[in-house]
Amino acid sequence: MELLSGGEMLVRALHEAGVEYIYGYPGGSLLHVYDAVYKQSAVKHVLVRHEQAAAHMADGYARATGKPGVVMVTSGPGATNTITGIATAFTDSIPMVVIAGQVMSHLVGDDAFQETDMLGVSRPIVKHSFSVRRPEDIPELVAKAFYIASTGRPGPVVIDIPKDMTMPNERYEYSYPKKIKLRSYTPPQRGHSGQIKKAVELLLKAKRPVIYAGGGVIIDGSSDKLRALVDRLDFPCTNTLMGLGCYPGTGARFLGMLGMHGTYEANTAMHNADVILAVGARFDDRVTNATSKFCPDAKIIHIDIDPSSISKTIIADVPIVGPVGNVLDEMMALLDEANEVPDADAIASWWKQINEWRERHAGRYDKNESQLMKPQEVIEAIWAKTNGDAYVTSDVGQHQMFAAQYYKFDKPNRWINSGGLGTMGFGFPAAMGIKMNFPDDMVVCVTGEGSIQMNIQELSTCLQYGIPVKILCLNNGSLGMVRQWQDMNYEGRHSHSYMESLPDFVKLVEAYGHVGIKVEGRDELPQALEDTFGKYNDRLVFLDVAVDPEEHVYPMQVPLGTMRDMWLSKTERT
C-alpha cells in the first residue's frame, strides 16, 4: 500500500471524492496541506481574496451542479471568515465540505496564535463536523464528510485538521473507503406507501388544489417528475423562492412565486385551496404569513426528506417523509393504477377563477416617463437578452425579489440565491463558482450597490483565473428593501438606508482589470447589454445601472395577515 503524509492523504482523498476545485486561502496551520496541493494537478485550487467568498463560491458550484462544494481555510480568522458562508449553505440545505486548519494538537485549548474552536463556533450551522485525531483516519473522514454532506437533506460538513495531522515526514498507509456506512445515519430512501396512497386519494378528490414546490425538488434533481405530475393532474403550481425553475417559469400552469412577494394569483389560490401538495418546501415564515390564518380550508400533504420540516410551522394532514423523486414516482404509479381521475368540472372552474385572479395584478408596474429606469424593466431586459437561459445569482434585497419575479426560470439550478439566510455578498462569488464550472454558459449576478460591496474584492480573483461573469448592479443609491420598509412602517425615516460616497464602480472595476459600463438612462441599456454579451463576452463586465430609488417591490403581504392579504402597489390593497 502507498505511504502518504496526512496532507497528501487529504488532497488525494478529495480527488477520490470527485473534487475538481477547492476554493480557499492558505495560512500557517495548512501549509503542509498547501504543499501537497502544489505537488499535484488533479485537484485545482482557487485563491479567493476573502474566505467568506470561498464558501459562497463553493456554494454556487454546489447549487448549480448538485455536487458538494469544497472550501479550504486556515485556522482562526480563516475559519471564522467562512461562518456566514457555511450558515448560508446550511439554511438552504446545500452540500459543502469545509476543511479548516487547526493549531497543533498539543496547543489546542491554550489560546494559541490563530486558534479558534471552529467545531464549537460552527456547531449550530453544520450538518455535522469532525476533528482529525489520527492522520490515518483522514481518508475515511473525508469520505464520511462527503457522504453526510450530499445525502438526505444536504448540508455543510466541517473537518477540523490540526497541523500535526499533516506532517510531511510522517507517512501512513493510504486507502480510501469504497463504501460508507454510519450506524447512526440512515437517510430515508422511500416514502411510506400507505401515506402516499392517502395523498393520491386526497389529490384525486381535490376541487381547488395547488401544488406548492420548493428547493427540495431541485436538490433532489426531481424537477422533471414534478413537472410530469403537475401536467398530468392539470393542477396549478407555485414555487417558493428556492424552488424557482423546478416548474417552468413560462409554463401555463405556473402561478409564479408565492409568499411575501409572491404573485396575487399564487397567494390567493393558496388561501382558497382545498388541497395543498407541498413538495420539498418547508412552510417558511416568508411563505405562510400568519400561520394561524394560513389556508383555512386546505388539507395539507407534505413531502419532505427531513421529518423535522414536517408539521414544524404548519400541521400536515398527510405527512410523507422521503426523497421527493421517489415519492413522486410512487404517486405517478398510483395515478396510473387508479380508476379515478380528478373532477374535471371542478378543476376547470378552479382554473377559470385563477385566470381571473391572474388579471388583477399581472406583474404590472408603472414605467417612468423620464429616462430613469425601473428595476423591473432592467430584469426583463436581461431576461430577453439572455433568452431566459442564464445562470442568475443574486444578493439580497429588492433586486433579489425583482429578479425572482421578472426573470422567468424555465430550468432548475439556474436561479441561485441565498433564500433562507438572506446573505448580502453571496451573489458575486456564487456566480464565480458557477462560471468556472460552466464556462460556456451565461452567468449573471444581479446585485445592488449595497450588496456588491460586501464581496467586491473578488474582482481580483476573477482577473487571476479569468472568470468572465456579468455583474448587473441595480444602483438606486439605497438599501432598497430597508428603505421600502422604512417608507411603509416608519413614515419614510430612512435611517442609514442610503449610501453616500459610493465609489465610481466603472473606475473601480477598471482598476481591477475588467470592463465597467455605466447606464444612466433607458436608451443606453440595449447597447450596454449588446456589448456585455457581444464584444466583451469573454470579459468580466460590471453594468452599473441607475434605477428609480422610489420603487417598491409588490405584491407584498400585509404582516400578520392571511396569504392573500397583500399590497399590490403603494395605494392598492387586497
Binding site: L119, G120, R123, P124, K127, H128, S129, S131, I148, L182, R183, S184, Y185, D306, P307, S308, S311, K312, I315
Partner: protein, 163 residues
C-alpha cells in the same frame, strides 16, 4: 407535560455538546440531564427530562434524531417505565430535630451517609416527586445543601433500548 427522553449516543468527543447545543439553539428547556458510558464502550446513555406539549416534544425528538451521533432515541414517558434520581442532602440536625430527621429519612428509605454533631448527610433515591416530598417533609428550613443526579430511566417489561 414532562417527558423523559433516553438516548444512545456515540461515545465521542463533542457529541454531548451537540445535544445540549440543540436545546439552547432552538429554545427548548433541559430540566435534568444525566450521561454515562454503557456496557458497550462505543456508546453513552443519556437521559434528559424536558417539558412541552406534544408538538414541541415531537420537534425535539425529530431534531435529536437528526444529530449524526444520536444512534437511538426513545421517549420513555410514552410507555410504562421506571425512573430514579439520587439526591445527597445535607441538613441541620441538632437537638430534638436529630431523631425527627432520622425517622423521616427512614420513612423515605433514605440513608444517613455522613454525620457530624450538627449535620446529617442523607442519601435518597426515587422519583423526582419523592425527593421533593422528602424536602417538604423535613421542612426546607433545615436544608443546608442538596445535590441531585438528575433522572435516569428505563422501560418496564421486555422493551429494551439497544442497538
Amino acid at each position: 407535560m414532562r417527558h423523559i427522553i433516553s438516548i444512545l449516543l456515540e461515545n465521542e468527543p463533542g457529541a454531548l455538546s451537540r445535544v445540549v447545543g440543540l436545546f439552547a439553539q432552538r429554545g427548548y428547556n433541559i430540566e435534568t440531564l444525566t450521561v454515562a458510558p454503557t456496557e458497550d464502550e462505543t456508546l453513552s446513555r443519556l437521559t434528559m427530562t424536558t417539558h412541552g406539549d406534544e408538538r414541541k416534544i415531537e420537534q425535539i425528538t425529530k431534531h435529536l434524531n437528526k444529530l449524526i451521533e444520536v444512534v437511538k432515541l426513545v421517549d420513555l414517558s410514552e410507555g410504562a417505565h421506571i425512573e430514579r434520581e439520587l439526591m445527597l442532602i445535607k441538613v441541620k440536625a441538632v437537638g430534638a430535630q436529630r431523631a425527627e430527621i432520622k425517622r423521616t429519612a427512614d420513612i423515605f428509605r433514605g440513608q444517613i451517609v455522613d454525620v457530624t454533631a450538627s449535620v446529617y448527610t442523607i442519601q435518597l433515591t426515587g422519583t423526582s416527586d419523592k425527593l421533593e416530598g422528602f424536602i417538604e417533609a423535613i421542612g426546607p428550613g433545615c436544608v443546608l445543601e442538596t445535590v441531585r443526579t438528575g433522572v435516569s430511566g428505563i422501560s418496564r417489561g421486555e422493551k429494551i433500548l439497544s442497538l
